[in-house]
């Protein structure tokens, strides 16, 4: 299978984006954590000040998935800032449907994202990976990624809405 295209996501893609987000979350055994809706994806990604950007991988109709989908992969990203080195591209989600792996779609998506990062003068691309996800870690390490948690001791922390409310009223 050769033909697939990569393109910027459009408003009509939000249903597929959410489907793929849930598939990736299911793989991470976190499916019940996904509370995002299509409406939020639409408002937050395609308004005046988007919170995220998205690229999708699409195959022709005659190559559609078993369930009839033509959007078979995606990457969601946004720009962040490191006060030591400046702009960064943060890769939030990156996923290709199982049926469509091994054809270079993932590599092409990553290539497109890194081109974007270089073009917009980002100093690097950051993302998180689950430590048990050895195949993904190998995929990233082969491409020169460093594990900051392991090498430098950085831990990611989170404060949820309930505690944010408590903190904001102190």
């Amino acid at each position: 299978m050769a033909s697939f295209i990569l393109r910027k996501a459009e408003p009509k893609d939000v249903s597929d984006i959410l489907r793929l987000i849930k598939e990736l979350a299911k793989f991470e055994e976190m499916e019940e954590q996904v509370v995002l809706t299509e409406k939020e994806l639409l408002e937050d990604g395609f308004g005046d000040h988007p919170f995220y950007h998205c690229v999708v991988a699409e195959v022709p109709k005659d190559k559609q998935s078993v369930e009839g989908y033509t959007v078979v992969g995606f990457a969601m990203y946004y720009f962040t800032y490191d006060p030591w080195i400046g702009k960064l591209l943060y890769l939030e989600d990156f996923y290709v449907m199982k049926e469509f792996r091994g054809y270079g779609i993932g590599s092409e998506i990553l290539k497109m994202l890194s081109e974007t990062a270089v073009k917009t003068r980002c100093s690097g691309m950051h993302f998180i990976v689950a430590e048990w996800n050895t195949s993904s870690i190998e995929f990233y390490k082969r491409r020169g990624a460093a594990d900051l948690s392991h090498e430098e001791g950085w831990h990611l922390y989170e404060i949820d809405k309930c505690n944010l409310l408590k903190m904001s009223s102190k």
Binding site: W84, E92, C122, M125, A145, W154, H155, E158, L164, M167
Partner: protein, 171 residues
């Protein structure tokens, strides 16, 4: 001690730059700081800023030993969780050593939370170095949890040559 928390302006970049270096020194990494005061002015105060800042300021009669009244800051920006939507990321939080223990750090973090909630965010994220015990204690008291330890998510980075090779499609 009297202090105010307010949004950072272009004029604050000199002090923000100074305090970024102080924080980097504390994290034993001051040689890694490449961003200048001018970069901060361009990246934070243009039409499409890449970050936002808040400053903690004390009155003139409480100024620091070297004469500074801007004694703490936080840099933050908006991110997006594919699970939960809008989020706010606190990139830096710093209070000069001589002004610690007076609630300034808590007030800065509280302000970032308020701004995040007002923008529709449902979570605040940040990273901490695993050896930074006093900061870890402070954060745990605010009700946060360690995503890296609890869920095993590691922070990864692709930069410099690796990023260039990736852009060119090399393997």
């Amino acid at each position: 001690m009297d202090f105010t928390i307010r949004a950072a302006t272009l004029e604050d970049c000199k002090d923000i730059s100074r305090m970024i270096l102080e924080l980097a020194e504390y994290e034993k990494a001051s040689d890694q700081v490449k961003i200048t005061q001018r970069d901060l002015e361009q990246d934070g105060f243009s039409k499409n800023p890449f970050f936002h800042g808040i400053i903690a300021e004390v009155p003139e009669h409480h100024k620091s030993r070297e004469g500074h009244t801007k004694v703490g800051y936080s840099l933050y920006f908006y991110t997006y969780s594919s699970w939960k939507g809008r989020a706010v990321y606190m990139e830096d939080l710093y209070v000069m050593p001589e002004f610690r223990g007076k609630g300034i750090g808590k007030a800065l973090m509280s302000k970032v939370s308020q701004l995040g909630l007002a923008a529709g965010c449902t979570q605040l994220n940040f990273t901490v170095l695993d050896w930074n015990k006093s900061s870890l204690d402070f954060y745990l008291k605010q009700g946060c949890w360690d995503v890296t330890s609890d869920l095993g998510y590691h922070c990864m980075r692709c930069e410099g040559d690796a990023l260039e090779h990736l852009a060119q499609g090399d393997l």
